[in-house]
Amino acid sequence: MEKILMRGNEAVAEAAVRAGCRLYFGYPITPQNEISEYLSFRLPQVGGVFLQAESEVAAIHMVYGAAATGARVMTSSSGPGVSLMQEGLSCLAAAELPCVVVNMSRGGPGVGNIQPAQSDYFQAVKGGGHGDYRLIVLAPSTVQELVDLTYRAFYLADKYRNPVEILGDGMLGQMMEPVTFREPEFPPLPPKDWAIRGKGSGPRKWVVCLDLDPKGLEALNLKLQRKYRLLEEQETDYDTFGDPEPEILLVGFGTVGRILKSVVREGKKEGLKLALFRPITLFPFPKAALFEKAKGVKGILVVEMNLGQMLEDVELVVRGKVPVFFLGHTGGVIPTVSEILEYVHGLLKEEIRV
């Protein structure tokens, strides 16, 4: 299959079109503008709709409206823009509307900067907006994986009637790598008989994100929780790499995952027994797999481009049975292979005690 050299932002846009996305609403923000720019010419070629909204708030509610009609729809943003979308994401989750949101995250908090960071993990994984809800969160580490996960994002959104966030970062969005567009074969999806398309000759329908009756609202919440448990049972995904019986297990997602792969390779040359555990689904978090992988290791080192967010989920999984250490940079500073290796050497020298 033909390999094309593409920038991450353009690759995710092309993959979305190939996955059947026909509407995109977005507002410019660095470092993800190439997504909008690409779709502004690409979507009209396939009879789709590109619309630049007046704000991220408007964009996510345009997504809400289009999703309610049963169409495949996407938006993208970064940091502050995704913060503005949280109101709409809470509504999409409550109304059980499928859509895909790409966050090419940047340094925060506040306006922060436009350099790559992973400090939106809490926002993406823990809910972000108000209420008891979850997004499905996918974390690609290469441009090829960004393409593959974009197809999967649209499939999972439709299958579970839930918004999906692809959590990349500015580095992944801006880097160029060769990619192939392998159309995956997913099992057939149920018809969208809930979609709002005008009642025609049938009974009328409605999509809302409210229920003023306490019992009704609790029932909706319990239904959502059942869906999230089903996701944990069926859709967790992760990647492992390195020594089958590591002394130190390195855990990182997205861009950090690829840095940690180099750490494992370089460490092997220096006689270190290291392995990488890289969650691909951040929600549902691959708890059971990480718990298994953590058995027998001397310690876990979590590396993130934030100051310790996924760290909390790793600690929850191992529940104190294995010591967990953390190395993080934020604000656009990217951890280097050499400093991580130095940290690992330090851990082993100190003879980690449980």
Binding site: F25, A58, M62, G65, A66, A68, T69, K205, V207, V208
Partner: protein, 252 residues
Amino acid sequence: MKVVFERPKTLLEKPFTYCPGCHHGLAQRLIAEVIEELGIADRTIGVGPIGCSVYIYEFIDVDFVVGAHGRAPAIATGIKRSLPDRVVFSYQGDGDIAAIGTAEIIHVANRGELITSFFVNNAVFGMTGGQMAPTTLLGQKTKTTPLGRDPQVHGFPFRLGECLSVLEGSAYIARVALTRPQFIRQAKECIRKAFLTQMEGKGFSLIEILSPCPTNWGMSPKEAVDWLEEKMIPYFPLGELKVKGCNSRETP
């Protein structure tokens, strides 16, 4: 015997949940009548607000979507762009459309989005219990302006219809009241024109409907109707503010 008056089929049989003297019920009945007369109920999609009329989807027999506070115009945009051959309308109160959702309504109008917005102006936040709205009149007492609205502190009552009528994308904007049979007949005609403006692809249309809120104004329904006519109409004059893309107030 000839039937001269009956409930339109597009208005469901469920009793309205509005307070006595509120005009939401009248407004929704008129919208339902026009939808029925135009024969578009099967391809019309409504977008509801947050506020007293959040349950509009229980009263009008068309498909509905309800989202967050003030975002109905953006939601309507998403629906219309996805299904351009459907008739899409939004229905919002003054807090929803002229405060929290100001950005959305202005840009929907400016894009000339082919939707119709209904804006119920009762000069107060209704569902939250009578706080100041952007349309609250000067001197009007509300829960958050206990001494009356003071322009030095709270600014001025917002004339949204006039504001939108200067935008190139808006094609038909009218302000109506429902306090007299004559006004009701005029309002229905305006509602019909607004839907036709959308269906003929001319641009964005909006009908501002002045409504009493006896509960939050602390008046009887009769006093509220009188207050609306004496106080609101002079500040929010009735009539067509813009017709077919030309501003009737500025163009000779």
